[in-house]
Structure formats: C-alpha cells, structure tokens
Symmetry: C2
Subunit: 210 residues, 2 copies
DNA sequence: TAAAATTTTAACTAAATAGTTAAATTAAAC
DNA sequence: GTTTAATTTAACTATTTAGTTAAAATTTTA
C-alpha cells in the first residue's frame, strides 16, 4: 500500500525528526508563527511536547527552519530560469508561470504563508529575503532589453514583472475566499490552475505583442 | 495646523471610541488576530487597558468590528460597478482596476489583512464573505456574455476574472517583500501604483482583444 | 459648584502557552 | 541478555496575555 499525502503524519514511516518537520510545516504554514501552537505540532507529529523540545529547542528555531525552507521554495524557482542565457524573454515568462503554478499546486500553503509572515513582520523578512530576490532584478533587466529591441511592446518592465508574478501567485493567496465564495472543490481548483498555465501564457503573450 | 495621517492616533482630536477603533484598525491589520495584543491597541490609542475593555468587552468583539469593516472595503467595491447596466465589460474592468488600486493606496494593509485571516482561519471567513462575493458572479456572467458576442477573445471567464483581480490586488500583498528586495520607498511604490492603473487597463485590453 | 460621567491607577485573576525536569518505560544496538 | 539510546509520563515553572476590580482622580454637564 502506497503512502498518500493524506496519510496522517503521525502514521507515516518517517524518522522522528522528519515527523516533527512535517508537522511543523503543516501547522506553521496554515496558522503562521503567532497562530501556531507547539502542542498542535506535537499532536500532529504523534509525539509529546517534551520530545518536541528535545529535538528542537524552541518554537523560534523550528519556525526559522520551516520559513527558510518555504521562502526557498518561493524565491529560488527563478534561479535556474534566469541564469539560462539560451532562453528568450517569452520562454522565461512561460517557464516562470509553469514553475510557480506547479510549486503552488504541490505546496498550497506556501505563498500565503510567506506573504503573511512578510506582512506581519516586515523587519524580520529583510534578513531572509533580500538576497534571494536579487536574481529577479536580472529578469527585469532582460525585459528592458527585449523592450529596447522592439521584441515586446513598450512597457515599464517593473510593471510587466509584477504582472507575471501577480497572475501566477495571487490565485493561491485568494484561494480560500475564492473556493468558499464560488463553491469550488480542491479538485476543481487544481484543474483550474492546471488549465491556467496555458491560459496565462496566451494572455500575457497577447498583451505584450508589439 | 492640519492633522495629517502621520499624527499619532493618541494625539488626534477624536472621541475615545474613535481613537480605540483607529488603534485597533492599525494593530489588527498589521499583526492579524493572533499577532495583535490588546495592550498594544491601548497604547496606540493613548489609553489604558481597563478603558479599552470598558468600551469593547473582548478582543474578539473588537476584531470582528475591524474585520467586518475591512472586508467591506475589500468586497463591496464592485457592488455599484457591477449593478450598472450601462457600463460595457471594458468599462467595468477599468472601473474595477481603478477602484481597487485607489482603495489599496488609501488602505495599504487591508488586502494582506483580509487574505491573511482568510488563510489562517478558513472556516471563520465563510460567515463573513460568502454573501459579499455573490456580486462577483454577475461580473463573470457579463464576461461570458461578451465572449459569446465576440466582443472579447474566447477565454475562460473565470480565468479572466482571476486575472483582473490578481493584477490589481497582488502588488499590495507582495509589497513588503517587493519594497525590501528592490529598495523601493513608500512614495515610489505609490507612484508605481498610480501609474499602474493606466498600465493595467492597456495590458488587459491588449490581452482580450479578439 | 454639585452631580454625573469618564478615565486612570494599580493591583489583581484566570487562562493559555512555551519550556523544563526527572523518573519510568520502551526500543535498539551490542 | 545487558547496555545504550529514544520516548513517554506527568508534574512542574515561567511568561505572556486577556480580562477584572474597586477606589481615586479628572473632566464634563447641569
């Protein structure tokens, strides 16, 4: 019998450390730092609070580990894409869209988690995120270059970058409101996001055509 | 001397109840329900905790008041636009963009606040938000109609609706990351958002042209 | 000015939660 | 089978935070 993602963390064949990390991932990404409870993490991992503190000294240490991991998933997506000199601007946009949507389908809570913590604790994020975002500047520079060459319509490249990110990421932030408001199931939402990859590429290509 | 928005709440000529509400607005929208402290609200209002509880019995009651107000600002924007039978689809999109961006410039913390609470407490939002969103279905229906009439390119109208919302709202959610990562001041950010109103209308119109 | 309403003071209580401890139990390794 | 490591138990402590109380001080109103 294959272990699915719905198998409770406590019952999975994982080391205790892995069970704790999986539980912490689940609780922190759903509830945030201030909303998460160490007892809830222990319960979800199927262990007790004493052992939880034996493995990870404090809530803060455990949170840091999870946030670091989540922000990497959020911001390291572009590293390989942007570095690739062979890709055209249009190919980069396509790859960005597909990679972000795939990541968010696989990790549904990460976008809202990272954005939420960044908003509730703006000073804290500076240490974590500033370095990881420098790569994105290269993408904006590439946009500028393509505009100068007449490959895409004259536009503020920062606005274009914001557009691509918005279109890919926002649905996963508004997701609970959207699903509740329109009565959409998880399966329907994921199907919409699968369809969205192609839809967005067409939408953006039409918008930037010179 | 004119009172600016930078005048501390505690020093403004407001009734005590108004001072409390202004302080609660400030603290809750920045820190969220679980991150907010009643003591911080009292401090920001320039009063003490006893008086705070004298006016609003509990944190929950005060939060409900602020969240209700914030979600109204977030979701009642479209009511007048969508009801207006005289507006074309393109005019509605333009109005939606302008109204959302204006609201978010005037209330910078509201989008991330409402989205954050919805994500951290999905059950809670159902009571609040489901009714307010029904209007949005009419807009999607209008999109569908315009597609059938060939006025705009064949598209999934739900995707188009998601696109318009994403483009207008997401920048205000990613704002702290964007400003920290790219070294953008508040003034520069607001200028970019002012420019964005026109930019987005052009971007979307190009994307949906049949 | 006297009475009434508002606000402060400061010391409380109650509850929730992070984190600790030491002994007992169980599982793994040798 | 004995030793060692991992885990549980359960009762702790310390801290934070929501919420209360009663009396005193202040401000407003009549």
């Amino acid at each position: 019998m294959i272990k699915t993602e719905n198998t409770p963390i406590a019952e999975q064949e994982l080391s205790t450390e892995e069970k704790i990390l999986a539980a912490a991932r689940s609780v922190f990404t759903k509830k945030g730092m201030s909303g998460a409870r160490m007892q809830d993490i222990a319960d979800e991992a199927g262990i007790n609070k004493a052992l939880l503190h034996y493995y990870f000294r404090s809530k803060e240490k455990l949170f840091d580990r999870i946030f670091e991991e989540a922000s990497n998933k959020m911001f390291s997506i572009l590293n390989s894409i942007i570095a690739d000199e062979k890709l055209s601007v249009r190919e980069k946009i396509k790859d960005l869209i597909e990679n972000y949507i795939n990541m968010a389908i696989a990790n549904p809570y990460i976008p809202a988690f990272v954005m939420g913590e960044a908003n509730q604790n703006p000073d804290f994020i500076k240490e974590y995120l500033i370095k990881k975002i420098s790569v994105h500047k290269q993408l904006i520079a590439h946009f500028q270059e393509a505009i100068s060459l007449g490959e895409i319509k004259p536009t503020n490249p920062v606005q274009l970058f914001m557009n691509v990110m918005s279109l890919a990421v926002f649905p996963f932030i508004v997701r609970p409101i959207f699903q509740a408001g329109f009565g959409v199931t998880d399966e329907q939402f994921n199907a919409l996001m699968e369809q969205r990859k192609k839809h967005l590429v067409e939408f953006i290509m039409a918008a930037i055509k010179p």
